[in-house]
Symmetry: C3
Subunit: 398 residues, 3 copies
């Protein structure tokens, strides 16, 4: 289920995200803190999304009662392995767009992500999604995002069904609708992470699916997990999100990343945003108007050095060549205008950081990499923790 | 090993499917019903395909006796986790074509599939293929079929090596024969699920392989797991396969699905088949002759409404554009002729169902989806259970 | 980290392969032979590559102490499952080129590979890489090599993130450098197996990565695991590597396989090498000079029958059509010149073997396959064990 329709629809109410009823018809009150281990019926799900048992790694002995079919077994003894009780149901059934999160939910998700940073191999947390199956349905290849989600799922003990290039290789090529594809794939998996070339595709998928959908980017539309990891990176690197100054640099017209980030930053207090971009790719008015309406201070500025010296975060982005079509000269001009290099580092404050959604070309020079304030590879890693958190929350709740 | 050669060769004898001798030279009598848990030698396979132990999840303590190589260990204590005894060997080494199954085997497989519907996460059944490795070797992309098999394998605890597009990406491009590829891949896995663009490819693979081969579609040839899931769907939805009326609708000339289904239905009693199709894609004589020879009643009929009102199953198929080449006008004409819509639902009996192998275009209108008699997405799900059953049977027997 | 630069740089010193410091800052002395099982802090890594705990399959009960986040748990009781103590650190951080191995290391690796041949499903060895995640980053498709590595990882309990065609599908297409890609992917995995179209790519990756890199072929450069499996095959099939005669046949100019093999054979005693090839693809002088400098006897010979009757190993290779460009006539002439067929088998000694790196076309006729001396499919399987050994050594040491 997904609600709301545009980036600037009025803020969303949680009640709009009712549980997918087909998944869990029971009342979500139970959330037992302990499972009675000897009860043979522990295998029945007591309360869970997808009606699958959450008790984990039960080890028991079995006696075969039916010679024909080894599946007819009877539990003799039960020795439970680590088991996580189910927490409260997550407020959302799907992750569709950045604006579905309010400040409180963001903080709570970040707390879970923070814990994910400590999930070691063989630690109990590393098995909380054991038995769950995630399908990555990528209609548009994106190795980085796909591997990040697949790594997240595996780090929590879950399994993955992968599709590197569904557009070319699937029945989409035969004219099947996205809705039909989703109805089929949901029969094979417990959660679908999808990337699509059309804006709104994730919402359409969520509307039809009985299992959770995570939008891993839908064309020029949304890429909510990127937005969350950006804010999480600020939290982790700067220690706070209120009362900060953020410079958004580069392609502000086409970058969905900076647009989502600006939107999310508006949920925090005393944030000041600087826009630094070549004229051809300036931040559009809708975001500026939105920030103004929310009382967020913002400013366009042509001087990256000045902005960098002021800011806690310099968020650089790639000028997207593919948006310029045949106007290569315009692209080349825009591309070289704002570069983060040693000179920029020299004026930045000690605690400040450089971020970038990656891939980068030369808008951040290689000399910057060695500086501890270069946060962009750490940022990619934070993305792993955010995705671990979201997978956990959607599949087994808080 | 694979036997028989054409769709209409005389019915197959089980003895033709001798065990792949290289896999299990021992006599297949043993099939112990209990494993003595404390015996240290339980780790040796007593009787199994592929000579790999089927005892599962043994947890024990190990003492290192060789500092150089941690693999030299000695068992100190053994605490067995759930363990399935090995049942009788499955009659077949490979799944090559629909006609290898007789009525009794079908019933027995369906019983296993029915049990697979109850395999929950963390239930004992969910680990019966633990440690087994399935390679999906797809020379022709088919996301739906591939994910269905991979999901089936993972739902039973097995692992997957995947190839989304082997034709383009493998040494086939360098001129390697299928036989050589199979000999290499069989060294890396325990079972191969293959899709190929050439009729007979699966049989060639099975002839050379020492591990089981499942044909997931070989060009215009066979797609036996689809045929099985179709019959299983009828069993599950109608409750019986004897004494039913089935309308096969759409592209009956090119659809291997309907051809295989007609063949399998002939194994049951008092089945009546209606063929409803545009003239250009009529059911071919070979199937009609076969049905006649088996005493199966069949009829060609131009009126879908009349057929739908009579039938237990309306099996709709897609008119395959790719078969019409440049004759687009013929295609368009054929395509619009028989549509399952609300009007058809209105005349169908209450217990009847609409089936479709998917993907569908507009030969079933979207309004039908909401009707409980729309069985096509359930049908896709039944495919998962059939594949789970077949993987289980081929790898660990009944 | 990788050292040395060319195939003929002077032999490498182990000290050059210092541990990747960021992976394991502690001294590598510890290597506890026993883990005290009841200690709650056993979950912290005591000593391991990648700072991840190597104790495996710990089963324990957990009590939830924080209702909000199920990750805050307290261990109540601990029942350890099979656990391998960590051995000595492997001498290398990465596998970049064949010449990084000396004779002693080769022997030791082969011993590990030999043990890998006995890793059965559910044997303790089958879980030594549990919780480790390998990313296969293939910029150039190679189904055979990729599946071999992925099978190796899974046979040891590890998990895989796979990329079938990273060149086309990744941000490399957007202009990202290999170094940036590696820095991102290393955040998602514990080891990277990469195949690249550029010579030296693996070394560049290793220079930047904090996790181990295995070179699975970099363009015309190196393919060290193939070189190792070739030598291992000789060891396993002939029983020794000293004092043998090896005929290298076919495309000696372009085959990196035969070049690496010649190089590695020079590390052993009393080896005699015969070069048998069409004039257009003769072995280049650099290798001949190298062999001479090492005192290895070699000879060019135009008569395959004579060589075959002398040799312990006839190593046939494919004439690579793609190297001939438009000179198809030259290719056809070269291709037909030296064929291993029944006639060759007839003169070969009983204990001798035919090897081939695969894929083969018709340079070995099909009649040879049935002869026990046809070792090429076994050779592919030995590759699995070599890769299991290397993954084990790089991730958990000796």
């Amino acid at each position: 289920m997904a609600a709301s329709s545009s980036l600037f629809s009025s803020s969303m109410h949680m009640e709009m995200f009712a549980p997918k009823t087909s998944k869990c018809p029971q009342n979500f009150v139970c959330c037992h803190s302990k499972i009675s281990y000897i009860e043979p019926n522990y295998l029945k799900p007591v309360c869970c999304p997808n009606s699958r048992s959450l008790s984990m790694n039960m080890s028991s002995k079995w006696e075969q009662t039916d010679r024909r079919d080894a599946l007819h077994c009877r539990a003799l003894k039960i020795e439970p392995a680590p088991s996580f009780s189910v927490g409260q149901k997550f407020q959302f059934d799907d992750i569709i767009e950045a604006q579905q999160f309010d400040r409180d939910i963001l903080s709570a998700i970040f707390e879970v992500a923070r814990n994910m940073e400590n999930v070691e191999k063989d630690s109990p947390g590393s098995q909380i999604l054991k038995g769950f199956l995630m399908a990555t349905l990528f209609y548009e290849p994106s190795t980085r995002t796909r591997l990040s989600f697949e790594s997240a799922m595996r780090r929590l003990g879950g399994e993955v069904l992968t599709t590197e290039n569904a557009r070319e290789f699937s029945s989409a090529a035969k004219g099947e609708t996205l809705e039909d594809t989703i109805r089929t794939i949901e029969g094979y998996s417990d959660i679908i992470v999808m990337r699509h070339f059309e804006s709104g595709a994730a919402r359409r998928a969520a509307a039809i699916a009985d299992i959770p959908i995570i939008n891993a980017g839908d064309g020029p539309g949304q890429h909510p997990t990127q937005a969350l990891l950006d804010v999480y990176t600020i939290q982790r690197e700067i220690g706070k999100i209120d009362d900060i100054k953020v410079g958004l640099v580069g392609d502000l017209a086409n970058g969905r990343t900076v647009r989502s980030l600006a939107y999310l930053l508006a949920k925090f207090k005393d944030v000041k945003i600087y826009f630094v971009s070549p004229d051809v790719v300036k931040m559009k008015d809708d975001i500026k108007d939105y920030l103004t309406s929310k009382g967020v201070e913002w400013e366009e500025c042509a001087d990256l050095v000045e902005v960098a010296s002021e800011c806690d975060v310099v968020y650089q982005t790639r000028i997207q060549k593919e948006r310029f079509g045949e106007k290569i000269d315009l692209y080349e001009k825009a591309r070289g205008k704002y570069i983060v290099n040693q000179g920029i580092l020299n004026v930045m404050q000690r605690h400040a950081v450089v971020m970038h959604p990656l891939p980068r070309l030369d808008e951040i020079t290689l000399e910057v990499d060695a500086d501890p304030r270069a946060a962009y590879f750490r940022q990619a890693k934070y993305g792993l923790y955010i995705r671990m958190a979201l997978l956990k929350l959607l599949l087994v709740g808080w």
